[in-house]
Symmetry: C3
Subunit: 129 residues, 3 copies
Amino acid sequence: MEKINIKTSKRIDLIDITGEIENVVTKSKVKTGICFLFCPHTTAGLTINENADPSVRRDIINTLNKLVPQNPGYAHTEGNADSHIKSSLFGASLTIFIENGSLAFGTWQGIYFCEGDGPRSREVWIKIV
Amino acid sequence: MEKINIKTSKRIDLIDITGEIENVVTKSKVKTGICFLFCPHTTAGLTINENADPSVRRDIINTLNKLVPQNPGYAHTEGNADSHIKSSLFGASLTIFIENGSLAFGTWQGIYFCEGDGPRSREVWIKIV
Amino acid sequence: MEKINIKTSKRIDLIDITGEIENVVTKSKVKTGICFLFCPHTTAGLTINENADPSVRRDIINTLNKLVPQNPGYAHTEGNADSHIKSSLFGASLTIFIENGSLAFGTWQGIYFCEGDGPRSREVWIKIV
């Protein structure tokens, strides 16, 4: 299992980690295979979405904040109940194919670490087969 | 990596692709294994749900449209900001087991391609191990 | 493929199945690998979230019920249209790494079976590679 470290700077943020994951794939020397990603945090998640126009990220964040607001009506009283719920909506695991020694993506795709309760030091775990 | 092609006919739609994926599994001759699916589009996704009553699909679409409406308040101005958000709620990857040379499903399950910004020509990528 | 059985007691519930899955991993004697989980039901799902404070589970359930209420306005008339939609929001498959013969988790993570239309007898399917 490989690990990458991520420093997040906002409470809610989508951080492009495509390059870091691609580096792990390159080092593995696997030419054709599968890259599995796992987020070991319960107030964060992983998603794949557009990596061209940064406004897409802003819309995802704003909409998630509207659907799951950080308000005081939750049972969990640490102030991050919304972060746990967002984590389950994004999901903790991703599966991406490897072809020709690289992550196989559609034209506009990138991998995002979905910070839900930052700023924090975070990890993403990687297995390549 | 195998690919199947999908022609979608509506802006938002759930299209049953179980038969197409099953064909790829049959051709692979794998009897016991795992089928990985990947959606290479940022305004579409993949999900597993009921394939009996088509009204289930309609309820999923209507509810997603209520939660994430196609309105003009988004930062991304291509008219498909909602489609990107829906894509992340469904997710881009699925894992389905293969037993006896077939996809192993519960009684009512089928695989759906979730079109979020059609009509378009789309692909689903498949790896079988 | 291994299977575990789950008896649910409420209509909507999050049930910690980490111990049962860990038992399957232990029996497999796999020391380093990947554990794939699949939910064969269209009105239930799987998620990973906090296993310390039970109020997190309650907040997830309450928020999902607010976003996708069990009301009579759905096309699917079996009274569980909301359960199908919740199933797709959680997702049917999970991927968890195995290290040192155990599931590799972050500090607060556990695996939850997300019952959306109980009480019922349910299964989770497991493959370890």
